[in-house]
Amino acid sequence: MSTVITLPVLLPMLGAAVTVVFARSPVLQRVVGVVVLAVVAALAGVLLVVADGSGPVVAELGGWAAPVGIALVADRLSALLLLVSTLVTLAVLVYAIDQRIADYGRGTASTTFHPMYLMLSAGVSLAYLTGDLFTLFVAFEVMLTASYVLISRRTTATRVRAGMTYVTVSLMSSLLFLTAIAMVYAATGTVNLADLAGRMDALPAELRTVLGLMLLVVFGIKAAIVPLHFWLPDSYPNAPGPVAALFAGLLTKVGFYAMLRTQTLLFSRDEPWTLMLVLAVATMLIGALGALAQNDLNRLLSFLLVSHIGFMLFGLAVFDAESVGGAALYAAHHITVLATLFLVSGLITRRTGTVALDQMGGLVGTAPGLAVLFVIPALTLAGIPPTAGFVAKLALLEAGVGAGSGPVAVAGVVIVASLLTLVALVRVWVRVFWGEPRPALPDDDPDDEVVVGTAATAAPMYAATAGLVAVSLAISVFAGPLTAMTDRAGVDLLDRGPYRVAVLGDAP
């Protein structure tokens, strides 16, 4: 098992190296990409089963017991998110490959796409699995740098600004992260998370708060918490379609995962976290209102993404086993649903030639399949039963109402935000799928990745999107075992014991 846990990190890296060395063979690149990710997904599944059955899986790299060496840890939370993320990554890769084939033909290789894509996947895996604060920094850098390259792969005059915003803000967060690590080391003398948990407790409470808030800001930038979120709606929508889907699905959730992991493991608290409740309310409302003001489909989705980060923050803020488990479940479903919506948005754009809502219409008649592909994730995001979004939201609500009057009030805001989400999505439906069918706009930029017209949309692109829809439906169908597991994950997270024992041995 300890080997299995390293492979989700090392295999994609190896794949990236191979795809660079053999960059002249597009077929090999595609095969390597898909096979590697499929294997990683399978391994993640194995890890999840094992971690749920017999406790966290730990790999002591190089045979050095933590805290001397770096430990990779797969507990329920990380294995679950790893599995869902990898499935999304795989589906988006299939989509992207077929989009490329549809647009450029089979023979064109891409020098940067496949290697960067695999490196991004490696970074994400490492971020989920690492049990070391500094390695988390490295993982973030691998992931983010790959994302910088991917977002600036097709820089045009309009897109370069989005790339700038994204890169600059992310760099700032990275440097603040490094600063925070230095502070943590200055105060505690260790960077191993399990070891830190013990040493943090020995710090005076006020100083612990300082460190906790510092890490909160650092990860909050990546997770796009209000008021650290402004960069997101300005950058994601401008990325190429599949890339935007991947970012929207994964990156913010990795940020949230890091927040969840560090806050629960390092900074235990006994009652709801008022500051976080406030941030959650702000994030939910400002994101949802932002979505209502947009005319660009991708921007609208980006704002909804921000809004729903607030839902997870709510789970974290309540800070009990139930709510933290609920937040984990919410994150898992959110990864799939956002990626799906962005892929659907890509398909819509290919058909209509625009992302402007007021330029589209009538797709329910001309593309009924697309309508179905949109409706299911849209309902999921809005939390309408019986979708996964409903189950996850219910988990959060239940945890919230049991935790005192503050959380109950915020639960009310969750309801309001859900309604606003629905309003925004209904607007998309009304404007894109209802109304008069309109002719596709002429392609503004004929040689970019978006080729307008149905003929150029490969069936596998639909299949990949449908696959993600299926994943999201599966979360709903298997909500029973899943919620039971996220509940156990929540208990583990707050208990901290199993994690520390698994990493450090019996006497932490």
Binding site: V68, S110, G365, A479
Partner: protein
């Protein structure tokens, strides 16, 4: 029971395949599951009227999410509406939709799916199960009202129906969760057995009522229902008369036995219900569109039902259950009759219709029968129900009893009036209006269902014992005060008087329709305007908030991040306030000159306006920091720092060749730079301050450094401990690190080498547009 519900839904998914061959056949197939359900329900009557039939399938037990179903007397009544009336309406659809109608395919599948969802809703014995199906009916209604969404009225109506009902639904969800939390279970039967009380339960009940009111189109949420009349008439008949709008009433009926003793429950129910009954009835008198007339009538009746089922007493419950049944049996055929008229003549405007009494005699008689039941004319079911209603409130007495009794009486007068108006409007020969031509005489498929429902109303009115049997078990949940039973004849008593007053008053009101018409157009408050204002207000708020916050400026975004960083950890650090007492000025003398160099270079950097100078100053800082590393005893670090700094300089110089020599930024005034200066300075001080405080608070020796020193030579075969850490102890970091380099290099070449493949072209707006050369096949080949 779950299997029945799923059968509906699955078949609905498969129905488009049938529609592809024959659309009428699709409706015929769609009518099967409801029929089977009805038969099944009747076969279970004995058990349903007794202990009830239960079934429970766990879904997510950790969340208390279980699909629990229970067939009891109330559910049985509802199934007659949902499945019985549903099947009849689906049969009507066969004749209503043209064989080539594009709406038919969609409608058949959605109607069947809706029937499934509604069935699940009425069978649910679990709040969450109920919620699941509740929202599904909202979605089905949205799609059925909106249809293809080609016309604005349809879109508006669909959106309004969805938003209003989901708003209530979401509020109700929170109410359910609160209720479930207080009761410890979501199982309705268990909650009712031991109803929770307490502060949050009050909130929960208000929220639940919000859901019920929106779904059942109660004041002030009612406008969505008349608006939804743009849907095809059978859809209106099914969703917006017979079944879906009953969901709210049904929910109130479900929960009343547990909570009707609380003023927070019966108070709003009674006030809102009565108000809705009166307002709906009044508005119905002003409508000229027959369908809208019926819609307002439905609103009014829903208010009536709300009062009866939420009042929390046995006789009222008995009356409510009977009226529930009666309403479906008279309102559905009335809608279908309007549909038939519309189908036959092409209009449903009562100002244009004339003389249909003779042209469509069959429809006219059936509709009259139904309308009479609505008006409460004996011996129809409507009369039986209304008698019981009057009896309930009259015998209750007291302020509430009389208020309700007279309120209901006033409502009944209005009901009779609009019933008469409907019949007059639809069928009467009007002076001055030429008789309407019947272009498509209705076939048996259209009129048959109308007759079936109308006759059922008559039959059940006379066979009131059956209805009594059916409604008794539910009303028995309340204490039996008077031993009242449904019957056609209770002797000469006050209720009978009330009925007479209602009939007489209503007919008088109808005769005075000219005056009423003029009056009823002056409505002081317009709930529809309220909905509009809310939606527009939210949109306006969204634009205002977003426009203000999302400024689009990168420096502002970075500033926001920095301010947050200063505010959160910074303030916490100030509050902690543990400045070390033993802080030295310096540890090694050499640190001072090096620090001075770094600081001076850094400060000069802020004032440099030439790019090249700036890069050189950065180099100075870098080498200075390298020097500090040497002083600190980190030769490896220093070596790397010097090498990296040199390479960075080279890279900078490479790029600077192409850039202008000065920064292009306008030279800002001090005033405009001041916020930046302040934020930056405070940020720097915050970081340094926190660093000092935290470094002074170290809780123990470094965790593993001693271990590194011990293990490095023996186990890792290295005397350079740093090197051992990098390639052995923490080799994974190094692998990740080279990964970053790997990515960055690929990114750099992709970006830079693309330039020569960029193409410029003129934009429509006149300016030049540069198209990216990245991904150009030539570019890809070169990057390779």
């Amino acid at each position: 029971m779950l299997a029945l519900v799923l059968a509906h839904l699955v078949l609905a998914g498969l129905l488009p395949m049938v529609s592809a061959r024959s659309r009428p056949a699709a409706f015929a197939v769609a009518a099967l599951p409801p029929s089977i359900t009805l038969l099944w329900a009747f076969s279970q009557t004995g058990a349903a009227l007794g202990a009830g039939v239960t079934e429970s399938v766990p879904w997510a037990p950790a969340l208390g999410l279980t699909l629990s179903f229970r067939l009891d007397a109330l559910a049985l009544v509802m199934i007659i509406l949902v499945s019985g009336v549903g099947a009849v309406i689906l049969v009507h659809c066969i004749g209503y939709f043209a064989p080539d109608s594009p709406q038919a395919t969609r409608s058949a599948a959605l109607l069947l799916a809706f029937a499934g969802a509604m069935l699940g809703l009425v069978l649910a014995d679990d709040l969450l199960t109920l919620y699941v199906f509740w929202e599904l009916t909202s979605i089905a209604s949205f799609l059925l009202v909106g249809q293809g969404g080609e016309r604005r009225a349809e879109r508006r109506a669909a959106v309004q129906a969805l938003l209003v009902t989901v708003f209530g639904g979401l509020a109700m969800l929170l109410g359910f969760v609160l209720l479930g939390e207080a009761a410890g279970t979501y199982r309705i039967s268990e909650i009712l057995a031991d109803p929770p009380r307490g502060g949050l339960v009050t909130v929960a009940l208000v929220l639940v009522l919000l859901g019920a009111f929106t779904k059942s189109a109660q004041l002030p949420f009612h406008p969505w229902l008349p608006a939804a009349m743009v849907a095809p008439t059978p859809v209106s008949a099914y969703l917006h008369a017979a079944s879906m709008v009953k969901a709210g009433v049904y929910l109130v009926a479900r929960l009343s036995p547990g909570f009707a003793d609380l003023p927070v429950w019966w108070g709003p129910v009674v006030v809102v219900g009565l108000g809705t009954m009166l307002v709906g009835g009044w508005r119905a008198l002003a409508e000229t569109d027959l369908k809208k007339l019926l819609a307002f009538g439905t609103v009014s009746q829903l208010g009536f039902l709300m009062v009866l089922l939420g009042a929390g007493q046995r006789t009222a419950a008995l009356a409510g259950t009977a009226m529930l049944l009666a309403h479906a049996l008279f309102k559905a055929p009335l809608f279908l009759a309007v549909g038939t008229i519309d189908h036959a003549t092409g209009t449903r405007d009562l100002r244009k219709l004339s003389g249909l009494r003779t042209a469509l005699p069959g429809t006219a008689i059936a509709a009259t029968l139904a309308a009479a039941s609505m008006a409460g004319v004996p011996p129809l079911l409507g009369f039986v129900g209304k008698e019981a209603a009057f009896e309930a409130f009259v015998s209750e007495g007291g302020a509430r009893g009389y208020l309700l009794a007279f309120g209901v009486l006033a409502g009944s007068v209005l009901t009779v009036a609009y019933s008469a108006r409907f019949l007059w409007g639809a069928f009467a020969a009007k002076p001055g209006v030429e008789p309407t031509a019947v272009r498509h005489p209705p076939g048996a498929l259209l009129t048959g269902p109308i007759w079936l429902c109308a006759l059922a109303g008559l039959l059940l009115g006379t066979a009131y014992v059956l209805v009594d049997l059916l409604t008794e078990p539910y009303s028995a949940l309340y204490p039996d005060e008077h031993g009242y039973h449904l019957a056609l004849w209770h002797g000469f008593n006050v209720p009978l008087l009330f009925t007479a007053i209602a009939l007489g008053g209503g007919l008088l009101l109808h005769r005075a329709r000219g005056t009423v018409d003029a009056l009823s157009h002056h409505s002081p408050v317009d709930a529809q305007r309220g909905y509009r204002a809310t939606v527009e207000g939210v949109s306006r708020l969204a634009v205002a908030v977003t426009g203000r916050l999302q400024a689009g400026s990168l420096p502002l975004y970075l500033g926001a991040i920095l301010v947050t960083f200063v505010l959160l950890p910074g303030v916490a650090a100030v509050l902690a306030g543990q400045w070390p007492v033993d802080q030295l000025v310096y540890d090694s003398v050499l640190q001072v000159p090096l620090a001075l160099v770094v600081v001076v270079a850094a400060l000069a950097l802020t004032r440099s306006h030439r790019r090249f100078t700036a890069v050189l100053l950065v180099g100075v800082i870098g080498y200075g920091v390298g020097g500090l590393f040497i002083v600190d005893g980190a030769p490896d670090l220093a070596l790397a720092q010097f090498l990296v700094e040199t390479l960075s300089l080279v890279a900078f110089v490479f790029v600077l060749r192409r850039l202008p020599s000065h920064f292009t930024e306008r030279r800002a005034t001090l005033r405009s730079r001041l916020p930046r200066l302040v934020i930056a300075a405070v940020g720097g001080l915050t970081v340094a301050g926190i660093a000092v405080v935290l470094s002074a608070a170290r809780v123990g020796p470094a965790a593993v450094s001693a271990e590194f020193v011990r293990l490095a030579p023996a186990e890792a075969g290295a005397t350079n401990v740093v090197s051992a850490i990098i390639v052995d102890f923490r080799a994974l970091d190094t692998v990740g690190e080279i990964g970053v380099l790997f990515i960055a290099a690929a990114g750099v070449s992709s970006l830079v080498l693309a330039t020569r493949y960029d193409t410029r072209r003129k934009r429509r707006s006149g300016g030049d547009e540069v198209r990216s050369g990245q991904n150009d096949p030539e570019h890809e080949r070169e990057v390779l």
